[in-house]
Symmetry: C2
């Protein structure tokens, strides 16, 4: 039985209990959210050592870190190092997007090493294998694709991005739209190339029941990909994107009927004032399925600093109900991330998730800020360092310039905290002027 | 005559023309905004070499960079280097917040060197001089304070933060509130100490006409400081903060009557879902006076990464109508910024301002993103580098890992842009799979 089937028949699984414990919520709340489809717990029984993580309504906003090689760069070692950084800076999930080297070996090593839920995009491997074995991506067969999906499932992959909504209908919309940046999803682009060359429907849509069958058998979670997501602000929330979303809404229903956990992926590049509408649309059309957003990036011009562009959009999206934020690193649009980019991407996305969790009323979220503010008022630097997202950095920056007192080098003896405590007598002064 | 007086009587000043040219708007729109008080053009006639900058409704969102020494760190050279970085990364204004070394000499050197509008907080110098000359900050006289304000005005300072709303009434509210972090404004804290020790009203409030007289005489712009701004999310939008805002609303009226340009400063630490309300409150209570926000920081826990916390809040605030964003650097709450922090702070804040300008409909804002997206679609790396906020960084990141084609090392030969162009035939393929 899948987690969803267990939840529906009232069985409390070890995974549900673990999620409840971590969120500080009653196990019944997790079971009920799972049963209703507003929560997913991606947990492939084949992923040994997995610490289960819940994603969805009422839970803290989760953060995914992408790792993976490309044809140009990356080895098993570089990517395992990124997984370690992801664990250190507390990402909640990792996706292995490898498209270079021994893709299967990298995936297996990551699954063996990482206690976080692992996601993949099987079309990458299927397309690249077709290139190797059949001379071109577009010669891939449907069987090739489903074989790779089953291979990932057998390996223990917890959730898979499947671009089932890239249909001939969506493609027709793409042709009639005047998009600035047509398709920026690699998986979407693979499938569109295939569909155009073969003159056939997307097998992930046409043979969706075959996909559901595999998902039931191995209990992996579907992450319905947004192959038609906008790649520029000018393309956001257009008919092509929404056509795909409508299809994903239908596919959410069919997954739930089949007992398969499902979440939905969303944009992308979105102007700030359309972010909330995008979340509301997904929640309505996809009946409350957890929403996994890629950004959103609220500007196209942030090259080198897109972790910030994404943190702005991600915070607004999560506050409006998005459940899962895919990190964006400073190297987005320019190159694969290095280890420092992975760290910066995770921390920026965690800040966005946390800012949203405060206003979502997630248990413990505001309390963290409260503790930090108490430490700040008390000029307790050790506590501030301990409460920060990156203690080593906080310590280094605080200690960077000589300080003569217990304050910091920004205000020195003229620290407002210290002055007001002295004059208002609210607490013992730490610093005398 | 001040800029405001000229605008009211229909005179088009050179400053108004320069602002109109820069914004791509009709000069009459600038004159009218100035006359109505929804736009300010801080331009002290004593600031030789100033390139005027407009702040307010209908204009692009502006970004301020703070520089300045503390008792612990910084010299004239370090701070002039920060001014150069501010010019290089295109801040729109610079505030000199020096509290260490020869404060007057630093200010004069910055004014001589910098073509951007320069702001200061005269209470810092007044308080520190009182400490030196009278043995304690709280022994400062009202005359001492106004002498320093006049000195700054004579030096050519374009705008000054004056915490006129830190009144006995606000202090009474502070005593009855249970604030987590009482007062985090240095200027506010100086004045509160003084008011408590002297048992008197804040001279900047009590003798506001004296301040207006100086502002008229030298034509500097008042930036009404928010000494009661929240220093933690828990304190945001409380009675103490709003009490001060009500006072600032009255003082805006009086400044306008006197022919003095005025803007209003705002928080601070604010939960994401209260940011818009804070902007609407200021716009209503202060009758459309330009709003200059310090962040807002949408979490308290961002130490080491507060440029990101501030970018989230700043983008939301600016989209809701805030006109002027004070940058926050990664070293906020920890230490004075170094040169790299200044750069990161400016770029993060410019991204926030730009994301807002797109949805504000600021002339040329969306066009910049459009150009970047066209360059991205065309895999034109030189154009992308040229359009980025930090071309050197964009170039370095793109070139970091070897790429075999014209794509980037993230996707290599599997670039969606290249694939879709090939199969959809929308543009010449740059990359063959």
């Amino acid at each position: 039985m899948t987690q969803l089937e267990m939840a529906r028949q009232g069985t409390m699984s070890a995974q549900m209990l673990a999620v409840a414990e971590r969120e500080g919520l009653p196990p019944e709340a997790i079971r009920q959210g799972l049963a209703e489809g507003t929560i997913v717990v991606p947990a492939n029984p084949g992923h040994a050592g997995l610490i289960p993580c819940g994603i969805g309504k009422g839970l803290s906003t989760k953060v995914n870190a992408n790792v993976g090689t490309s044809a140009d760069y990356g080895t098993l070692d570089t990517e395992l190092a990124k997984v370690r950084v992801s664990l250190e800076y507390k990402a909640d999930a990792v996706m292995d997007l490898s498209t270079g080297g021994d893709i299967a070996a990298i995936r297996r090593a990551i699954l063996a090493d990482c206690t976080l839920p692992i996601g993949t995009v099987p079309i990458y491997q299927a397309g690249i294998q077709a290139l190797d074995r059949r001379g071109s991506m577009v010669e891939m067969t449907a069987a090739d694709l489903f074989d790779v999906i089953e291979e990932h499932a057998r390996d223990g992959v917890d959730f898979m991005t499947v671009h089932c909504g890239v249909t001939q209908r969506a493609l027709a919309r793409l042709r009639t739209q005047t998009r600035l940046t047509n398709v920026v999803s690699r998986g979407g682009a693979f499938l569109i190339g295939w569909m155009l060359h073969q003159g056939k429907e997307n097998p992930l849509y046409e043979q969706y029941d075959r996909l559901l069958h595999l998902a039931t058998r191995y209990d992996f979670t579907l992450s319905l990909g947004d192959g038609m997501r906008p790649g520029s602000l000018a393309d956001a929330t257009d008919a092509c994107q929404i056509e795909e979303l409508l299809t994903l809404g239908e596919l959410v229903d069919r997954a739930r009927v089949a007992g398969v956990q499902v979440m939905v992926e969303g944009p992308g590049h979105v102007p700030l004032d359309q972010v909330v509408a995008n979340v509301q649309l997904e929640k309505r059309i996809c009946k409350g399925a957890p929403f996994y957003v890629l950004g959103p990036l609220v500007a196209d011009i942030g090259a080198g600093y897109d972790h910030i562009t994404a943190a702005i959009g991600g915070a607004i999206a999560a506050a409006a109900g998005a459940d899962f934020l895919c990190y964006v690193t400073p190297s987005e649009h320019l190159s694969l991330p290095d280890l420092n980019d992975v760290k910066e991407g995770i921390i920026g996305t965690r800040l966005a998730a946390h800012a949203a969790d405060i206003v979502k009323g997630v248990k413990g979220a505001a309390e963290w800020d409260r503790k930090m503010s108490v430490a700040r008022r008390n000029l307790d630097w050790e506590a501030q360092v301990g409460l920060s997202l990156d203690p080593a950095r906080a310590r280094a920056v605080h200690g960077r310039f000589a300080t003569k007192g217990e304050t910091c080098s920004m205000c020195g003896p003229y620290c407002a905290m210290a002055l007001v405590e002295k004059y208002l007598g609210i607490a013992a002064p730490r610093c005398v002027v």
